[in-house]
Symmetry: C2
Subunit: 303 residues, 2 copies
């Protein structure tokens, strides 16, 4: 495996579909097996796309185990975030027991967190486990905004393996500058992974080591085309492959984020039952679903 693995390349973030307010285990297994077959570099179960924040400890432990058991040897990373540190540590133990190869940790908040509190959370987790940890920066869901300086302080903790950044500037040179700015303050062992799928090609071309990918969790082939082109140094082909997905990126932007769209894609492809998100989240409206179906047909992504 390459240095930094499994924190390089395409990490696919599967949905955790529900049916009647319970995890739809057969549907989840089908989605995971599809990712393993497609040849993604890792599978991150229980990311934001995997609705980790909405699930009980027991549901999360079960999902982690199913992911490992059905990943066909592809490394599985497990999201362990929770509002209370002691609950995070319980999730860590469950992820270890499931056979996770890494952990994804976001500073989930209710009371807005101070930087010291986030640092101490990462310290508590890294002191508690030998599994490598991804720092998950997602201000839109956690309400917490990392600074580059805080990345540096957290990345010094032994056990930090990667930082999942929320995006890069659209301009290629500005994106390179941003990635270099982070690279300059973190140890060499720490990889940088882009999220925000619409900018993934830009991020990978700018030097990100990994793509933590929502789309890759449901449509791994087109995500792999972007990732493999960027990894081969073909920046133009990576951008072109991303540009072909513009209808998807538009849906992400216009339908309240990627999760509801990806759920609609899963439902359209028969990979999840209708209404597979945890309430209070509602699925897309009928007109939005029609746009999803049209985009899948237009892009010939239904297969």
């Amino acid at each position: 495996m390459s240095p930094g693995a499994p924190f390089t390349g395409l990490s696919a973030f599967p949905l955790t579909p529900l049916a009647d307010d319970a995890v739809d285990e057969p549907a989840f297994v089908r989605i995971v097996e599809r990712l393993a077959t497609a040849g993604v570099d890792s599978i991150t179960a229980l990311g934001s796309t995997g609705s980790y924040a909405y699930l009980s400890r027991e549901e999360r432990a079960r999902v982690a185990r199913l992911a490992v058991d059905h990943s066909g040897g592809v490394p599985v990373i497990v999201g362990v975030g929770a509002l209370r540190t002691s609950r995070v540590l319980e999730n860590v133990r469950d992820a270890e027991a499931a056979g996770a190869r890494g952990l994804l940790l976001a500073p989930v908040s209710y009371q807005p967190l101070a930087p010291e509190e986030v640092l101490e959370l990462f310290r508590a987790v890294t002191e508690h486990t030998d599994l490598p940890v991804i720092v998950y920066d997602n201000p839109g869901t956690t309400g917490f905004a990392f600074t580059t300086g805080l990345y540096a302080r957290i990345a010094e903790l032994p056990g930090i393996a990667s930082i999942k950044i929320p995006g890069v500037p659209e301009d290629a040179a500005a994106a390179r500058t941003r990635v270099r700015e982070i690279r300059d303050v973190v140890p060499r062992r720490v990889t940088i992974g882009i999220s925000g799928d619409a900018r993934a090609a830009t991020g990978l071309n700018a030097g990100c080591d990994a793509w933590y990918s929502v789309l890759g969790g449901i449509l791994p082939q087109p995500a792999l085309r972007i990732a493999r082109a960027a990894q081969a140094g073909d920046a133009g082909e990576a951008e072109a492959a991303s540009a072909r997905l513009a209808p998807i990126w538009r849906l992400f932007a216009e339908c309240g984020g990627s999760l509801r769209v990806v759920a609609a894609i899963a439902e359209d492809l028969g990979l999840a039952a209708r209404d597979c998100l945890p309430r209070p989240l509602l699925g897309l409206s009928a007109p939005q679903r029609s746009r999803v179906a049209a985009a899948l047909r237009e892009l010939a992504l239904g297969d």
Copy 2:
């Protein structure tokens, strides 16, 4: 009881102090009994100040029951918010079983919520219970911003009893205009309660029916002085009583919100053990604690 009770007057929001990552039940009981003795109009257990979002279902059910059992007949309202609707409904059942007289519900989010999703959450809860429900608008913790129009749509649901608004403008006339604007679009049965303690006098003077009070949960006497003056129509005395608490309001503003300050007050007064907040929340720094202690002495609030 007056119309709208228990959703008028001073509702005190007690801390749920922890010790060694478990609810410190004797400390919680002591705090509740103190509020009952002081003569607050209601006690709202498991508000944001009560750390509801950090506690398990079992902990919350137990805290609700302790609050009712030790409230000396003062009506107890219980916070039932959670990320997943089915969990909210479990908390509702537990609050009913505990003897709650009302429910406080915030649209807690991880994935940002759409207005329709919040409306359907309140519909699900009000259809599920006969207990009156307070709409809890706290964008700083939930990440969700209500509009006045959404207040109106939710307030139409039978069972909605009150709206807890996050604040009013500082200017008295502007505050009156804001309260009237809300009043104009909600049914008469729905009371309006101010939160954001530093503006409570302004809000009450502007026509708010209730004060959902953090300070009232730990220092009920000075909170009652503000509330009773406003209720008696003595706007000047209410503002003066609030102005005397300026050192407290400054601490709230400068120490990351009210919760950490109130926890430090409880610890200073011997009402909670040191480090009583759920991790990852850290208590105040030593210099901040000194300021808290100095403010309590200066205001002669330690008794």
